[in-house]
Amino acid sequence: MNARTGGFEFRKELFADERDDDLNEIGKRIRRQDIEGHVTGRSPFYDDHLFDGLLHMRCVRSPHHHARIGRIDTAEAERMPGVVRILTGKDVPQNLNTLLSLLDFGLDDEPVLSVDKAAYKGEPVAAVIAQTEAQARAAVKAVRVDWQPLPHVLDPEEALKPGAPTVCETYPGNAFVYHGKYDHQKLRYGDVEAALRQADHIVEGRYQMSPIEQAPIETCGAISAPEQNGRWVCYTGTQALFFSLGTASKVLNLPSSRMHFIGGTVGGGFGGKVDSIHEPLSILGAMLTGRPCKSQWDREEEMQVGAPRGAERWYITDGVMNDGRIVARKFTGYFDGGAYTRLTSYAVIKGVGHLPGPYTIPNVYADAYCVYTNRTPATAMRGFGITGVDFAIEAHMDKVAETVGMNPIELRILNAYRDGDMKAHRREAKNCAFIECCQVVAEKAGVTISPEARAASSKTGGGGERARLPAFTATDEHGRVEGFESGSYARKGGAPAAPGIPAELTPDRPSPPTLPTARPVETPPTPAPAPTTPDQEKPAARTPQRRSGAVRFSSISGFRRR
């Protein structure tokens, strides 16, 4: 189904039956449907619900990056004015959680209130419930925790070295385990090492990003109260109401039918309110006190323990010919997930799916690690997984242009995807417009580009040779780990195995004796396998899947079932 709008062609193979073609709002001023509430101050944010007798919950947090928790002494705090109850890990019915395990992707790895140890500064170990916020604050200071500091690691590459302290016991090697067997995400397309040997230039780069806090003006939180018929009402600022409902159901071991979630009015989220834990905490508070209970971060907590966009470090090695063609690109990426998985496992998948950027490069190789360090856990934030590696790629493109003495815009046009090209993750490039974007940029920036670059088009020159899969893809088994149950991500709905790893390579290999530490074991590169057959290489989604149980990619969850 095609639709033409303003000179752009939208081909709708996905969701073709879900979207009307009557969208023509661009360029018109419209009023938001919720804006009258915003300008009158009547929009009901979660904290705008008044309850008589509302209790306030505040957490006792680790002052250390990494510490074993000895005794938690709440006796003095319990006697303080206004204190109603103090929760610790034993009060949480299912005190281990990770958001994406709701999708059967990854293992529950993070306590709601930690019991044995804290793995980042600010990790909550107890929650004080008091009649006023000030009383809760005062009582938090009176909770005595016997902290026994442990060695910590704050750098992802340090965390992967032998002997590094284990950050998260669920993943003793300090790396998330993909598909139950690899300590990183692999992308293998063609033979990068051979292509690098033939290139005129090798261009290397290292790129480091910082964590970025979403910093919504409304801090994260939720208010819960007893409702009727054994139900609990929860007003929440979550960005993902059903994730939060699922999380509360899991953590509280309570059917979701007994929770009445009201959300939808969010005072800025930007990803930071996707994997909220305020809902189960406030419901638990309401359950154990029988009164309305609010869990709310103050600004300092929002900044210190609110999960940011994780830091990424990328190493890129390009093989480049004298004329500017990039013939090989190799990535090693380290995503600093902080102390727990949250959404970093998925950020890595997104990032690797984005490689090698909008360029047709015949040989691509990537290893990207979701690494645990003793920093604040990272989560979603506006294009997470993409923006970081895009920064690395585009900074690297400039470096390549400098190396071969080429205008950086022309270098991009020369290497850009064109319609019909095969991408490194084995999908055909469609609806390309990068060349046209570059041409507009050159014009706007007053940069003169060659007549050939000006004449280039995304619609011509692609396909043919460029549509072909590599005759040979070098694969390997390095980073193989044992002893993990895979989430069913890799198996659902007949989705393909990890790219570039033919299924027959996985069984019958000697299992390295990795348990109980399960530290990743480097195995020597496997001998080059016979070139994979077109059938094995063919993306499973080439033919659009039909409704019956088909799994589709979603920008939030990674996939969804219809």
């Binding site: 001023r29 009158t40 101050g41 929009s43 800025g268 103050d298």
Partner: protein, 158 residues
């Protein structure tokens, strides 16, 4: 805990309540008097979401002791409309898409109203200065500036 009786004029009406010792005006307005239009964003005087007027001057409700507003006149975004009739700034914010999540909007409107009350024909720079204490994280500053300019220039509609 001894509470302090506080009587003040809020958006033209005499209101009274009891403030806890050390309670800030933001909490007092929201929990004590039920005016939920000023918002908590930082409790540090940085974000401006709790901006109100006290005796006509914009102040930050989170940095004002509730008990010091005894007998004073407080204005919030909830009092901008005259009954069902919206303030022209409110209409302009609607027409210019000057709010996304809406959380900073009440404080932003209070600052904008205070500006136009003392300077009905501000320059663009005056407007930027006047709202510099109100953070908008959805980064909708441009439409906000446009909306305020539109009101000062007597333009209505989108």
């Amino acid at each position: 805990m001894a509470k302090m009786p506080v009587t003040l004029t809020l958006n033209g009406m005499e209101r009274a309540g009891f403030a806890d010792p050390g309670q800030n005006l933001l909490e007092f307005l929201r929990r004590g008097l039920g005016d939920l239009s000023p918002k908590y964003g930082c409790g540090q005087g940085t974000c401006g979401a709790c901006t109100v007027t006290i005796d006509g001057e914009t102040q930050l409700a989170c940095l004002v002791l509730a008990e010091t507003t005894e007998g004073r006149t407080v204005g919030t975004a909830a009092g901008l409309a005259n009954g069902a009739e919206l303030d022209p700034l409110q209409t302009a914010f609607m027409d210019h898409f000057a709010a996304q999540c809406g959380y900073c909007t009440p404080g932003m409107l209070v600052s904008a109203r205070a500006l136009l009350d003392r300077n009905p024909k501000p320059t663009r720079e005056d407007i930027i200065e006047a709202i510099s204490g109100n953070l908008c994280r959805c980064t909708g500053y441009e439409p906000i500036i446009e909306a305020i300019l539109a009101v000062s220039e007597g333009r209505t509609g989108p």
